[in-house]
């Protein structure tokens, strides 16, 4: 959910853009962290852990803790709490460890 009115703050948001979460089209504001756009759209599960397949969300939101790694435009292990949203991005739930080197 987005805050529309706030007693102290005003929010400067970028342009409204479309992007894809696991293939589904959703909207966010350009330049905000991908995790913020997902959260606003109700998405809280960002990946599944590699040993026990447990759902994970973000934790620190400043790029420190690695809880929020997702696959963005094919690149795994992207910290979506600090990676900025761009129009048309394809964001996918990451399963386990991301493969750094593509298999043929």
């Amino acid at each position: 959910m987005r805050i529309e009115e706030h007693p102290v703050l005003t929010f400067q948001r970028g342009e409204k853009v479309k992007f894809y979460f696991d293939g589904k089209e959703i909207e966010g504001y350009e330049g905000e962290p991908i995790a913020a756009a997902l959260h606003a759209a109700g998405v809280r599960i960002l990946r599944h852990s590699h040993k026990k397949n447990r759902p994970r969300g973000f934790y620190c939101a400043i790029g420190n803790c690695s809880s929020c790694l997702m696959v963005v435009d094919g690149t795994p292990n992207v910290r979506v709490c600090v990676e900025k949203l761009k129009a048309g991005m394809r964001v996918e739930t990451q399963q386990g460890r991301g493969e750094l080197i593509a298999k043929d």
Partner: protein, 357 residues
């Protein structure tokens, strides 16, 4: 290879002040931050600050960041690079940074590490469920990006951060189900606690979280009471429904670069964990590395700013920069720091620092 007199890692309140002070002494400064903006933790702080006028008391944290940024821009001898993540320190005194998809090599005569601190976590069953977030993270989401974390929050920890974030969440229209505090008393300042109490939020002192539960995202938690030996008391469990659990149990210094560089480190729990051994001038055991702010001990922004000034002045003086006012500026900053740490509120920090300097 980029060459500079002083490279500063981190542009939070400590790093910004270090840059301004070093530049005012005539040093060439390269100021780096991995974020796309300056200010560090300040940018999510929408409440008015404590401290003396010189440390911007009664200005909001986000506005302090803006003021310092303007000042940095006035100096032609400060080069600011944002989106630059410093990765490592090498034995030849070179650091590397990732910047715009490239690897930068930087050689400075002095480094000031002002990387701040990270939020701690807390061990309890299911603490990894989505919806369980650091309090600072929730503050970032809410205050910077205007996205609500959920509808009903359980706060764990009643220090200043737990209290302030609870209050800010209520301002933003989120219900706070309660604040859980393991100690018998509220940890934060009375002013903050009073606001919370007035709003009718229950504070469960001598309580801790037993477990969180939820089917793939958090739906609530069971809390229970602690006896005077901090042992949980079976039979005192309470079930609290919440779609967000905020963990506000303190911060720990982000010291990786200092470890890697070989600075002598010491564990001081009063300062948040492992911290660098350093002298009064904020010089570590490596003569080319200075520190300032939360990385040298978790404190607050006013102290971080003054430490930044001291580190900036002394690092610049150590490479031969000078100004007639150096002695006066340095001793004024040192006494400001002593004043900030005076009184009962500074007792924890004072006892921690005794083990270090």
């Amino acid at each position: 290879m980029l060459k500079t007199d002083i490279a500063i890692i981190g542009a939070g309140p400590a790093g910004l002040n270090a840059a301004i002070s070093a530049a005012s002494m005539g040093a060439g400064v390269l100021l780096l931050d991995r974020d796309e903006f300056v200010g560090g933790q300040l940018i999510k702080q929408t409440h008015k600050f404590f401290g003396s006028r010189e440390q911007h008391a009664s200005t909001r944290g986000i506005d302090i960041a803006g003021l310092l940024h303007e000042k940095v821009k006035e100096y032609k001898n400060i080069e600011l690079r944002l989106g630059a993540t410093v990765l490592g320190y090498y034995p030849d005194g070179v650091i590397t940074a990732e910047y715009q998809g490239r690897l930068l090599k930087i050689k400075a005569q002095r480094y000031i590490v002002a990387t701040g601190a990270a939020e701690k976590s807390l061990p309890f069953p299911n603490n990894d469920l989505p919806g369980i977030y650091g309090a600072g993270a929730v503050q970032t989401l809410t205050n910077v990006y205007g996205v609500l974390p959920g509808q009903r929050v359980l706060m764990v920890g009643s220090g200043n951060i737990g209290l302030i974030v609870s209050y800010q969440l209520m301002q933003a229209g989120v219900e706070v189900a309660g604040i859980v505090e393991a100690a018998p008393n509220i940890g934060g300042y009375l002013v903050h606690a009073a606001k919370i109490r007035r709003a009718g939020v229950p504070v469960f002192t001598s309580h801790t979280i037993k477990e969180a539960y939820g089917d793939s995202v958090v739906q609530g938690a069971v809390i229970w009471q602690l006896d005077e030996k901090w042992q949980p008391v079976p039979g005192t469990e309470k079930d609290i429904k919440a779609d967000v659990i905020c963990v506000a149990v303190g911060l720990t210094p982000l010291t990786e670069l200092l470890w890697q560089a070989g600075c002598k480190m010491k564990f001081v729990s009063q300062l948040g964990g492992h911290v660098p051994v350093r002298d009064e001038n904020m010089m570590t055991t490596m003569p080319d590395i200075y520190v300032a702010g939360d990385v040298s001990g978790v404190e607050e922004a006013s102290a971080a700013m003054v430490e930044g000034k001291i580190a900036g002045l002394c690092a610049a003086a150590s490479i031969g920069c000078s100004t007639g006012e150096f002695d006066e500026l340095r001793s004024r900053a040192l006494s400001q720091l002593a004043e900030l740490r005076s009184g009962p509120a500074g007792e924890k920090i004072r006892s921690g620092l005794k083990l270090l300097v």
